[in-house]
């Protein structure tokens, strides 16, 4: 890790304008975030805190209402820069394409020649453990496998910044841990910078070099923790004491924020769990 800044958000806010009688929604910020080249950064926060908005801004999918966003020194203004890949929480595999064609999708759009496509797709499918399913359709695969297809589809484009928006949110806890291991392997192998958005404290604590804990909406960083993990790590960190300290600290930061997101006053008695409107 060189410590060089790879991407940053400076004083970024995102406000959704008023729609038909509903007041404008201040979803995010102002926040500052500096991603170092090659690091694994996780953002945790309560539901609806603007984590995903933060990622959309960084990916160029949504322009910031205020503030500056840049990737590799170039400003991002609501259009997707080259070298950025994203995987989303929803299953975004295409059911009408085989696993192989799903993985090749982006390369074909870029007009990469067939031999190169074959080389990169074979590699990505092998890396994600999908080689035996190359001719299967997503409907024949489990949720975890489908998410691997989406990761492979991003991987073939050789992104230098990989954005992951709760990619394992819909998977069961054990599968999530195993997918976490694969993510670490992928991160080490590609040398890419990874930004992981998650609501799972253990996932954030286990996978990342740094964790940013985000407040309830409008999301801001409460604190950024350095985990101090070695680069060569996996889910066996869960057994150690440090893991408990990190998750403990994260929960300390987020407990009252999560209550706020559920409609509670901090430290109020347990009651109804009315969702925040909007």
């Amino acid at each position: 890790m060189t410590g060089e800044i790879h991407a940053h958000l400076t004083r970024v806010t995102r406000v959704y304008p008023a729609v038909a009688g509903n007041p404008p929604v201040h979803a995010l910020g102002p926040i500052d975030l500096e991603l170092r080249r090659g690091e694994f950064f996780a953002i945790v926060g309560p539901s609806g805190c603007g984590k995903s908005t933060c990622m959309d801004v960084l990916a160029g999918l949504a322009p910031p209402s205020e503030g500056e966003v840049s990737f590799e020194g170039n400003p991002i203004r609501g259009s997707v820069p080259d070298g950025v890949g994203a995987v989303f929480q929803e299953d975004a595999s295409f059911p009408w394409l085989t696993v192989w064609d799903n993985a090749a999708f982006g390369l074909r759009r870029q007009g990469v020649d067939a031999a190169e496509i074959r080389r990169r797709v074979e590699y990505a499918l092998g890396f994600m453990g999908l080689r035996d399913f190359a001719q299967a359709y997503p409907a024949q695969l489990s949720g975890g496998m489908r998410q691997r297809v989406c990761i492979a589809r991003t991987l073939v484009l050789q992104p230098r910044l990989i954005l992951l928006d709760e990619p394992f949110g819909a998977l069961d806890a054990q599968t999530r841990l195993l997918m976490g291991d694969e993510l670490l392997r992928l991160w080490r192998e590609t040398g890419a910078t990874v930004l992981l958005i998650t609501h799972a404290l253990d996932e954030a604590a286990m996978l990342s070099d740094r964790v940013g804990a985000m407040s309830a909406r409008p999301g801001r960083f409460l604190e950024t923790l350095e985990t101090g993990w070695p680069r060569d790590r996996d889910s066996s960190m869960l057994e150690g004491e440090t893991f408990g300290h990190i998750t403990g600290r994260l929960w300390q930061l987020l407990r009252s924020e999560s209550q706020a997101a559920m409609g509670h006053h901090p430290d109020a008695a347990q009651g109804g769990t009315r969702r925040e409107a909007g």
Binding site: A59, V80, A92, P95, W96
Partner: protein, 249 residues
Amino acid sequence: MTRLAWIRLAIVLGAFAALEWLVQSGRISTHTMIPPTRMVTELWAILASGELTGDITQTLGNVAIACLLSVTVGFVVGAGIHAIPRLRRALDPFLTTYYAVPFFVFYPLLVYIFGMNNLPMIAIGFMFAVVAMIINTLNGLDKIPRVYDKVARMHQMSRASMALRIQIPAAAPNLFTGLKLSVAYAFIGVIASEFILAPGGLGYAIAFAYDNFDNETMYALMLFILVLVTAINMTLHYLEQRLLRRQGF
């Protein structure tokens, strides 16, 4: 064939056998119904003589034109309406109640305007089929996961490329439903028009046979339409299964 298909076949054959018995044994008068076996032999004779080839080609031609028009126009209009959410919201109740308006009442008017030719029948078939295609195009476009929009932008795809590579394949199951309904509705529209007022065609031939107390021809032709439409529907169903089964639909 699966077990279910065998049971289905047995039920259909059983129904025909029962009808055969009811008529042969005199429980249903031959003034009302003729035995199914007679329908088949009669139909064979009619087809072999070639006297109705003109009517058959006329009906099928009109249905084909009405289908082609309604699928194309329905898809384009559906996609257009989908692109303008406000228009779509305003049109929704009209689209949903569209089939409550018995469009056949316009048929005499169309004959009056266009004259006694194929146009009014094609127009009725089209009016009947096009809205099914519009509604199913809208349904298909609605069901496209929103995340695909993000995926398309991550791949820096143009609007046209996104439509071709993502939206149409994603909406394909509903588009196919629209196609199937359009075929069925175009048939209903064209044959019903021929039945009421027409210069020719299968529906006309049935009505003509009815007016002349020619039960043999009438039932033979009914059987023909039932078999023809069922065969077309089954073919489309088979194609749909082949196209879409792998996608888990």
